[in-house]
């Protein structure tokens, strides 16, 4: 069972997160302050951590920093009510792996935790495969079964990102950050438009769909079972 350590001083938020994670089969350990959280992180060796920035006892970033000094590489998602431009940069520099600003949608949090737990390992593979879908990273070509798919460079980048994270929920904010390097959410639903184009090419007429829209959350790429 995947163990997640949650360090968050607000009981109600912690309760919501714990319930949601438990529903999805995570074992959640909760700690309400920095010192206790740091101790638990050392003892329990969790698979992932969610750390609030502002904590009584010890600041969230200090907790992460001390863990990193001890060579603990557990992936950490930093939560913060502060959205300052520099804050995010600092959070990531101090050893956080991802950063989420409050208030956030719970699906966003879950998607990001799962993404952290299933970070794709660096491979030397030059061909990525998900079911019938095949991506040649050297030749920059794509195929579904025998059908060749013509992709623009930006579509190729999006599809590659999704194929490396197949079966994972990818939220719009995650895609904007990772594929387009956008640190903000634009007014227009850009992601949907791009996704529409790629889906149109990947899921041709008569094909069983591989790219799924999860209402109000994001997208999943799945092999056809």
């Amino acid at each position: 069972m995947t163990k997640v350590l949650l360090i968050e001083d607000d009981g109600e938020t912690a309760g919501e997160i714990t319930a949601e994670l438990a529903d999805r089969g995570f074992e959640v350990e909760w700690s309400a302050n920095g010192l206790d959280g740091l101790a638990k992180a050392r003892d329990l060796r969790p698979d992932a951590m969610i750390v609030d920035r502002l904590l009584p006892g010890m600041d969230g970033l200090t907790v992460i920093e001390s863990l990193r000094k001890d060579q603990v590489r557990t992936p950490v998602l930093v939560l913060s009510a502060l959205g300052a431009v520099d804050d995010r940069v600092r959070g990531l520099r101090m050893g956080g792996d991802d950063y989420l600003t409050k208030p956030f949608a719970i699906v966003e949090l879950i998607a990001r935790i799962e993404a952290l737990l299933r970070r794709p390992t660096e491979t030397r593979e030059t061909i990525v495969r998900v079911g019938q879908l095949e991506l040649d990273l050297i030749g920059r070509t794509a195929k579904r079964g025998e059908r060749k798919i013509d992709l623009l460079p930006r579509e190729f980048r999006l599809l590659e990102y999704m194929m490396r994270r197949s079966d994972q929920l990818l939220t719009r904010a995650m895609l904007l950050e990772e594929v387009w390097n956008y640190k903000f959410v634009p007014a227009t639903n850009l992601v949907d438009v791009h996704m529409g184009r790629v889906r149109h090419k990947v899921d041709g007429p008569g094909d069983a769909p591989m790219i799924h829209n999860v209402r109000g959350a994001g997208f999943i790429l799945r092999a056809v079972s």
């Binding site: 959205g83 431009v85 930006r154 959410v185 007014a187 227009t188 850009l190 791009h194 184009r197 109000g216």
Partner: protein
């Protein structure tokens, strides 16, 4: 009596004191000058007299001396003849004074009168001369007039200076009381302003006087503050209004869903709609916070060299599908590689916002163009479109929070986009220029000190 402690009064008193000292010194100087002059004059006179008497034969000398004393109605003349042993032979001098130098120029020695011994000796300017037969001739003149002059002038001076000094103090007191009254008045009004009455202004007259000028300056500041606060209050109302609309919708959705939904699916539909409404409210709050955050931040460590041409291509790449859907020709025109010093993420956000706006407000089959130009000592990033543009009347207004042109009332959006662009541009020390329509044309002008290499 509070004015006694006031600075104005202290100054007035100090000046009055200084004036008094000055007048006293002047008086002293005049007195001593007159004194010197009178003494010198009387010395010359007695020297001439002694020369005259000494030249007379013995028999006429007695008579001449008697005549001389007889003519002296004011009793200031002294004269006498003594024999070699100091015995008085003739004249009104009681005795030959001790220590008198015979044959020397005029000197001050104590002399006593024969007829008025009680009065004792007074200091008198005197000349003594030896006569041919060994007798000693003494001629003196009392220069008491100077003392008299001193008394007269002194009295006049005291009578003049004292009232002047008092007048001065009075003027000082009046000035300080007046200043205090004005301060009191200003304080009263400032207290009213602090209490929230922003219409109150400080009193000032139309004269070029420091106090009035200060009041005019403060009033100018108050005008500015009042309009800013009014504008802020307006923004507050706008925020409340913009938040209430989606929240009301969300509430309605939830209420209706709760009452009417008979299946789980219907309930989910209602909640989805409600969540969308709440999300919109949240996005307004987020946009506002982000705006405040950018407006309050300074150049950070995130600043570096940003390749504008690459950035424009990225933005274009991002928006191309949307433009295509609306059959809008989106193009980038950059000839050179141009760099500016800035925060890449923020600049990208600004440009994306401009392009987002341009595409949103350009009707189908229009065109949106991104250009990068070199101006005189500056790099210009220009976004043009074939949409309605911004009218001259609206040029200022579009930078107001939540301002939405009437023409686009029903286009979705929060109405903070240009505020955000403006804040980002300001943070970088760039300029945002919004040209009047028809056709949208917005420029971000980056002055050259920001451009690092070309």
């Amino acid at each position: 009596m509070q004015f006694i402690h006031s600075k104005t009064f202290h100054w007035a008193a100090a000046l009055a004191g200084l004036f008094a000292v000055f007048v006293t010194v002047l008086f002293g100087f005049i007195y001593f000058s007159i004194d010197d002059y009178l003494i010198a004059r009387s010395d010359r006179m007695i020297t001439r007299q002694v020369d005259f008497f000494a030249g007379l034969p013995r028999d006429r000398l007695i008579g001449a001396l008697d005549d001389h004393l007889g003519q002296d109605s004011r009793g200031v003349q002294f004269s006498g003849v003594f024999d070699a042993r100091g015995k008085r032979l003739v004249g009104n001098v009681a005795a030959l004074p001790d220590g008198i130098e015979i044959g020397a120029p005029a000197q001050s020695v104590p002399l006593a009168r024969v007829d008025d011994k009680e009065a004792g000796a007074t200091s008198v300017r005197t000349v003594a001369r030896s006569l041919e037969n060994g007798d000693i001739l003494v001629i003196g003149r009392n220069v008491d007039e100077t003392g008299e002059i001193f008394r007269v002038v002194g009295t006049a001076f005291a009578l003049g200076l004292l009232p002047a000094f008092c007048l001065w103090l009075l003027a000082g007191a009046w000035l300080s009381v007046r200043a205090q009254r004005r301060v009191e008045d200003v304080n009263l009004r400032v207290q009213r302003i602090i209490a929230g009455d922003l219409h109150e202004r400080l009193p000032h007259r139309k004269v070029d006087e420091p106090f009035s000028r200060l009041a005019a300056i403060v009033n100018g500041m108050l005008d500015e503050l009042e309009s800013t606060i009014n504008a802020l209050a307006g923004v507050g109302n706008d925020i409340a209004h913009d938040l209430r609309t989606p929240l009301t919708r969300a509430r309605l959705n939830l209420e209706r869903g709760r009452t009417n939904a008979t299946t789980l699916e219907q309930l989910q539909q209602a909640t989805d709609k409600a969540i969308a409404g709440i999300d919109q409210s949240l996005s307004i709050v987020t946009a506002l916070l982000r705006l405040a955050e950018i407006e309050n931040s300074r150049r950070s460590s995130a600043f570096g060299n940003v390749a504008l041409d690459e950035m424009l291509r990225e933005v274009c790449d991002m928006y191309e599908p949307i433009a295509e859907d609306k059959q809008i020709a989106l193009s980038v025109d950059t000839s050179d590689k141009l760099y500016v010093h800035g925060d890449r993420d923020l600049l990208l956000e600004a440009v994306a916002n401009l392009v987002d706006n341009a595409i949103k407000f350009t009707p189908e089959s229009g065109a949106v163009k991104l250009e990068l130009l070199r101006g005189e000592g500056e790099t210009i990033l220009r976004v043009t479109d074939t949409g309605p543009g911004i009218s001259g009347r609206e040029q200022e207004a579009v930078l107001r929070r939540f301002y939405r042109s009437d023409k686009i009332r029903n286009t979705p959006g929060v109405g903070l986009g240009l505020n955000l662009v403006s804040a980002i541009v300001k943070l970088h020390g760039f300029r945002l220029i919004i040209h009047a329509g028809p056709g949208g044309r917005v420029e971000i002008v980056c002055p050259d000190e920001q451009v690092v290499g070309t």
